[in-house]
Amino acid sequence: MDKLGNILHSLNFFYPEIALTLTFFILLLVDLFFRKSKHLLPVLSLIGYVITGYFSFTTPNASGFLFSTGMANVGLYITDSFAFYFKLIILLSLIYTVLFSILSKEINESTENRGEYYALLASFGLGMFLLTSSTDLITIYLAFEMVSLSSYILAGFTRKVPRSAEASLKYIIFGAVASGVMIYGISILYGLTGTTNIYLINFYLANQNYNTLTLVIAGLMIIGGFGFKISMAPFHFWTPDVYEGAPITITAVLSVASKAAGFAILIRFLKVAFVDYAATNLQASLWAILPGFQWNDILAVLSVLTMTLGNLAALWQNNLKRMLAYSSIAHAGYMLSGFVILDNQGILAILIYFAIYLFMNLGAFFIVMLISDKLGSEDIDDYTGLGYKAPFLTVSLTIFLVSLTGIPPTAGFIAKLYLFAALVNTGWLWLALVGVVNSVISLYYYMRVVKNMFLRESISTYEQKIELGHVLISFSLLIPTLVFGVYFKPLIELAEKSIRIFGF
């Protein structure tokens, strides 16, 4: 009976997730009965997300574990400020995705399944909400699968387009392997420690003897599973194909929200399970890893690999969507280096980076979507001379690309500044240097697009017709990209409040 009481108590902190679930059901049902109305579904999704956002703000953070498993008062779920920050990012990118979808030609032309599209977007969001807050390997795996299954279908949503179907199939095959490897790692970790709760795993690893090799294998397998979601280097192969083939609205949400959820759970898992809290120096905010295996060394290698591979491959791309896919791999590499230093500064830098990455990356995808809807192509060569035919769109795209490179006065500079400063402060100078060199490499391929748009004669017969909605959404993304480059104090303060992971 006490367990039941705990569940009832836990529901008080679960309103945002319940709101998302209801959004999913309502969208599914409304589509069945009101097929004619064109704007009803997106409007209902937006209302649902706003209500979810309202509950996210008003629901207090739980003072203990939710959904207790009955052993040692630990539970399956936790709401803390760290999860809240990532939930905000996920929610914002979902709202933008719905707004993009209203304007997207690609989505509106395939009218037969629009109900499922918006409903799956909500279940995708729900999975990511669950993933950011899970504290048990079982809930982590279930949430992980919920995110994956929704995104497989969404990636192939315009299934009559061959490359979209191909993207979906490739995503499923890679995803199945990744989650298979991950659940194998989970099972080994469970066999080693006798528990699936990550807090108890930490307790066991700190106090009992165990076989280090087994732990390393299990840990690497689980990191591989998360690495698939954030497109970390050896698990990044799906990214370019899926990003290129999927409808561009879905590419946008995959590159921001799904990556945010992956990062949230990667940081939570590594920090909670493998950090030695007895040896952690709280004054200097430095953590110590449990003796046996230095997880940050392998992450440093993966981070360098991820950013270098992403940037070098992006140099050769002619398709803009594909180029942005490789660039998003590179950004995952930069962000991963924030964890390597094992310091709250690094986590702070990752949080700031994600908020800024949200605006600049969604912005870039939005402009690419608007241009390719008119142009019918995402080829960089077809962008030749567009600068004079569509000045508003191309100038916006230039600002987003400049921000992605990390040049002041855009927000991208602040993101990279905080990250590299944290690296230098904690003595990881070589990693900071690799990051800076990579940023310089990225300048080439971002600026190639700008060069094509502005410095070459036009060959296309592109006709520009700017609508009010396009301008409004562009500005809502442009303003944060520019303002956070100059006035970033509120963002830093919000991030500083959010670095605290429950329990420690």
């Binding site: 039941l4 006798g194 528990t195 108890l200 307790f203």
Partner: protein, 132 residues
């Protein structure tokens, strides 16, 4: 924060009865299968060895491909079958639970049924139950 946890770890020893039960079940069923051929009287003749002693002659292999529709029906059946699995323990314990939790416990099950009902309405409207 977790000083009193050590005794809470599930040890692998706790699973030994479970493994024993699985082993016994496996061996016993194997024994039953084998026992009839070992101990039973066996007097085969041509008539006995045909596929059906009485009835139609088999005309082709029974391993045919089924229409995919059967699989859809089977999947849908499982969804509502699971519902019953949850309803049973709920119904059995309702009296005890209601004393402690009141109307909440009844409402909760209706929420669960409502969720499945949404699924049912969805597949009904999508025509998943139409045969042709």
């Amino acid at each position: 924060m977790f000083n009193n946890l050590a005794e809470n770890f599930y040890m692998i020893e706790q699973y030994i009865p479970l493994i024993l039960a699985i082993l016994v079940a496996l061996l016993f069923s194997l024994f039953l299968l084998k026992a009839s051929s070992l101990f039973g009287p066996q007097k085969p003749n041509v008539e006995k060895l045909t596929t059906y002693e009485s009835g139609m002659e088999p005309i082709r292999t029974a391993r045919e491909r089924f229409s995919v529709k059967f699989y859809i029906i089977a999947m849908l059946f499982i969804i509502f079958d699971i519902e019953v699995v949850f309803l049973y323990p709920w119904a059995v314990n309702l009296k005890i639970l209601e004393d402690k939790l009141g109307f909440f416990i009844i409402a909760e099950m209706f929420v669960f049924i409502l969720i499945l009902l949404v699924g049912y309405i969805y597949l009904l409207k999508k025509g998943a139950l139409k045969w042709d």
